[in-house]
Symmetry: C2
Subunit: 150 residues, 2 copies
């Protein structure tokens, strides 16, 4: 029942970007350092968040990363639906991989699908703004690295 590390890091990047001041930009290295995670893992995440139109990347001296959309317009359910690449809760969710002999008459798939929808429905109720109401504390933890808070 884990989300992929890819979805986890996507959400962390978005949370990080909410702590930037207006017009401020950041880079992969700073985000990786703030969370103590690998830059390589973040490269793919950043690329995908850019493709989804959630972040804006600018090259050059004053370039960098920032949110392309207001936090209140970024729905968490929508982010997870787009970044999580495996919603095949059990084998029969995948047409290609399914070999379960009872699939034609089994009710389990429907029940698990209903459960998955309930899970995503909860995430649909939240935006990135809802997750970052502690903005100043998040900023301290991510950017200022005040040792008393770490």
């Amino acid at each position: 029942m884990r989300l992929t590390i890819y979805t986890d890091y996507s959400l962390r990047v978005l949370i990080y970007l909410t702590t930037l001041s207006e017009n401020e930009r950041t880079n992969i290295k700073d985000i990786a350092n703030a969370y103590g995670i690998s830059k390589n893992h973040l490269m793919k995440v950043i690329l995908q968040l850019g493709k989804l139109g959630l972040i804006e990347t600018t090259r050059g001296r004053n370039g960098g990363l920032r949110l392309a959309v207001k936090p209140s317009d970024i729905n968490i359910g929508s982010v997870v639906r787009q970044t999580e690449d495996d919603f095949n809760i059990v084998e029969c969710f995948s047409k290609e991989q399914n070999k379960c002999s009872i699939s034609p008459v089994c009710s389990l798939k429907g029940v698990l699908h209903q459960a998955l929808m309930a899970y995503l429905d909860v995430l649909d109720q939240y935006t990135l703004a809802d997750l970052t109401t502690n903005g100043s504390l998040l900023k301290e933890l991510l950017q200022d690295k005040d040792p008393t808070l770490l």
Copy 2:
């Protein structure tokens, strides 16, 4: 967002056992053959279902496996809670593994926990009996192996 193969197989074993006639017993080989899955994978599953008091195993010539509890008394949410060994949706769900720097002030964990509870709440609404209302068809697919149904 996958359940482990262990939970998947646990549910399949329970479904299989509902297709037995009263006093009939089966064995790991027949279950493995019916689903086309490995006997070795099933060994651990059977052991755990026995420990949970859901199945009864008897040794000897007329021995074998059968349900120890009525299907209507086996709650699917309860089975999944007990067989799924990793509900750590993201890193911060595990006290031991968590290294995320924003944990003390991050709201994401609470939101994901709420989503997980919604997922399990759906499963709590179903028993094994609800999943096996197509009993005769399940039996044909699992035991009789009628080629027109496979």
